[in-house]
């Protein structure tokens, strides 16, 4: 079976968009669901870009995601390293982590709304939580999965514990760590939308709420497309980074 040329991946999307345009224009969707054609969505997209509305809201969301995700990931990494490396700390904290980890990020929303109130810190904190736990978990797993023999070898070669952690264990744990980062990078975008839908004045989520309130389905679809692209982009970025750092030796 010959490999399909790269361009062929676009074909299903092109067909889908063409069908969408035809179905919407012919009004084939039953009764009450007003369904704008793809061309109307594209027009609205350009309008929103031109008048700065999309850019402004997108930037708000992006900044929140970046801050929350970076902070959460760094914290998750740091705590994960400590817990992964020191068994006694892992045993002490693991029960608490196991209780908190399964709580879906959005489950924290009502609590945070009361504790933090409705301001910039609310979505950022939510993204922080949504990033922290998976990165923590994957870091711990990655570190503990490193074959003990590598640590033994490094010891015989004169390395101290810290040196072993930095030069052997962490690099070998990278694939696991990247899995956590990759999953949460996309998740952060899904969560920010929900967080922004709760009375935050700016952001893609806020724009979605506004569009819903105005029954502007074209704007809603634009927002969803932006969301999808951002989720994918963030995931792809980490995929690329992981490949760059680990493909040579995996």
């Amino acid at each position: 079976m010959n490999k399909l040329k790269p361009g062929w991946g676009i074909l299903p999307i092109a067909i889908f968009l063409a069908l969408w345009e035809i179905v919407a224009r012919l009004g084939l969707i039953p009764g009450h669901f007003f369904f704008p054609p793809f061309s109307a969505v594209v027009q609205e997209f350009y309008r929103l870009v031109a008048n700065g509305v999309l850019g402004h809201n997108f930037l708000s969301s992006l900044i929140r995601v970046l801050i929350g995700f970076c902070a959460g990931s760094i914290a998750g990494l740091a705590v994960g390293i400590v817990m992964g490396w020191k068994d006694i700390i892992n045993r002490a904290l693991h029960p608490i982590v196991s209780l908190l980890y399964p709580i879906p990020a959005l489950g924290w929303l009502p609590l945070l709304m009361l504790w933090i109130g409705i301001n910039e810190m609310l979505p950022i904190t939510l993204i922080f939580i949504c990033s922290f736990f998976p990165v923590l978990y994957n870091t711990i797993t990655g570190i503990r999965n490193v074959d003990k023999d590598y640590i033994q070898v490094a010891r015989t070669l004169g390395a101290s514990d810290i040196k072993i952690l930095a030069t052997v264990v962490l690099p070998l744990a990278l694939p696991n760590i990247f899995t956590g980062l990759r999953l949460e990078a996309g998740m952060a975008w899904r969560v920010i939308i929900a967080a922004e839908m709760v009375a935050i004045p700016t952001g893609i989520g806020a724009l979605l709420m506004k569009a819903e309130s105005l029954i502007r389905i074209d704007i809603i679809i634009v927002c969803l497309i932006v969301l999808s692209v951002m989720c994918l982009s963030f995931e792809k970025f980490f995929e690329y980074l992981e490949a760059k750092l680990t493909t040579k030796w995996r």
Binding site: D147, D149, Y150, Q152, V153, A154, R155, T156, L157, G158, A159, S160, K163, T167, V168, P171, L172, L174, T246, K248, W249, R250
Partner: protein
């Protein structure tokens, strides 16, 4: 290079193990799986806690951590760092010690030359063959010029040819560098080929320590004998050269022809699997062919063992089950024994 002494070592299966290894010696630690060989290596390297004492040159090193014992350790699975290329693997210990980069590069270059793997320096372990990995692992173990070298079954994943070749290289290298070395294996042939001395360990107990010849030809007890394959060992009364590289020895009335390496022979040994049994008189010259009577037949998992009385000597032969089933052998039957000339060992 220091001598090594183990005094009353206790850990896991090992109980009160005592062992001395001389300076610059290559001692092979030989035993079946689970005997405690790797445990002893880990104890010498300081990678595990233990009871008893380890001494280098008479000085206890029990309180010295693994990172400071200056032991080069070649692990059983080689354990090359997958995320570092060959050069970086070899350089790891040197960089840990914060040696200047120029010295590191020089040393790595030197080791790549010695191991004949210069062409591999920027390759990653996943792209190396078994033999290549072994060389890299050895280079890494030697990089810091350790006082003691520990090799844990380094050749067990290699094919027979490569293993044989590398074995001899290892021996040569060890002699050149003069590092006190402990080599672990469960393969007797390997042990015999490279050891200065062999220490046989079973179930955590040191059974016998001696030169390969001593261990093979003078097994201390039945356990050792069984382990080394329960060879037929015969004392030689006299021997005379037949010319053409052959020697005839008389072992209690049995004239046996063996290869002549120019040395006097006190004992010969032959593994049961190297004694063939024939129901009828075998064709060919009457060399190393004897008539005997089967005195016992024992079936084991891997083969059938037959005791055959030849003259007054009891010889143990071995054959696969399917061969035995095709023959009509029974206790009391007269059979012909063929001793494979080239497989007879002399001491």
């Amino acid at each position: 290079m220091p001598s090594i002494e183990l005094r009353n070592i206790c850990k896991y299966v090992c109980r009160d193990v005592n062992l001395k290894i001389s300076d610059k010696e290559l001692l092979v630690l030989l035993g079946p799986n689970g005997a405690g060989k790797t445990t002893l290596l880990n104890i010498i390297a300081g990678l595990t806690e233990y009871g008893g004492s380890v001494l280098f040159d008479g000085v206890p090193v029990d309180k010295v951590p693994a990172s400071k014992r200056e032991v080069g350790y070649l692990f059983q699975d080689l354990v090359l760092f997958p995320h570092l290329d060959v050069a970086a693997n070899i350089a790891y210990g040197l960089r840990v010690k914060k040696q200047p980069e120029s010295e590191v590069e020089a040393r790595v270059h030197e080791l790549l030359q010695i191991m004949k793997i210069k062409h591999l320096s920027s390759r990653y372990p996943k792209h190396l063959s078994g033999g290549e990995k072994q060389r890299v692992a050895l280079a890494r173990a030697l990089a810091l010029s350790p006082k003691v070298l520990l090799l844990d079954e380094p050749l067990n994943s290699l094919d027979v040819q490569t293993s044989k070749y590398l074995r001899m290289e290892l021996k040569q290298l060890q002699k050149e560098l003069g590092i006190t070395t402990i080599y672990v294996t469960h393969d007797l042939t390997e042990a015999e080929e490279i050891a200065d001395r062999i220490a046989i360990i079973q179930h955590g107990c040191m059974e016998q320590v001696g030169s390969p010849g001593e261990v093979f030809f003078y097994p201390q007890n039945e356990r050792v004998s069984d382990f080394i394959g329960a060879p037929n060992i015969l004392n030689c009364d006299y021997c005379h050269s037949l010319g053409q590289g052959l020697l005839e020895v008389n072992c209690g009335g049995l004239p046996i022809v063996i290869p002549d390496d120019g040395n006097t022979v006190q004992r010969i040994a032959l593994f049961p699997r190297d004694i063939y049994i024939s129901e009828t008189k075998p064709p060919g010259p009457e060399v190393n062919r004897f008539k005997g009577t089967i005195t016992s037949i024992k079936s084991a998992d891997d083969a059938v063992r037959l005791e055959v009385m030849v003259e007054s000597k009891k010889l143990l032969a071995e054959m696969p089950h399917h061969i035995f089933e095709d023959m009509d052998l029974a206790v009391g039957k007269e059979v012909f024994l063929i001793l494979k000339l080239r497989r007879i060992r002399a001491y």
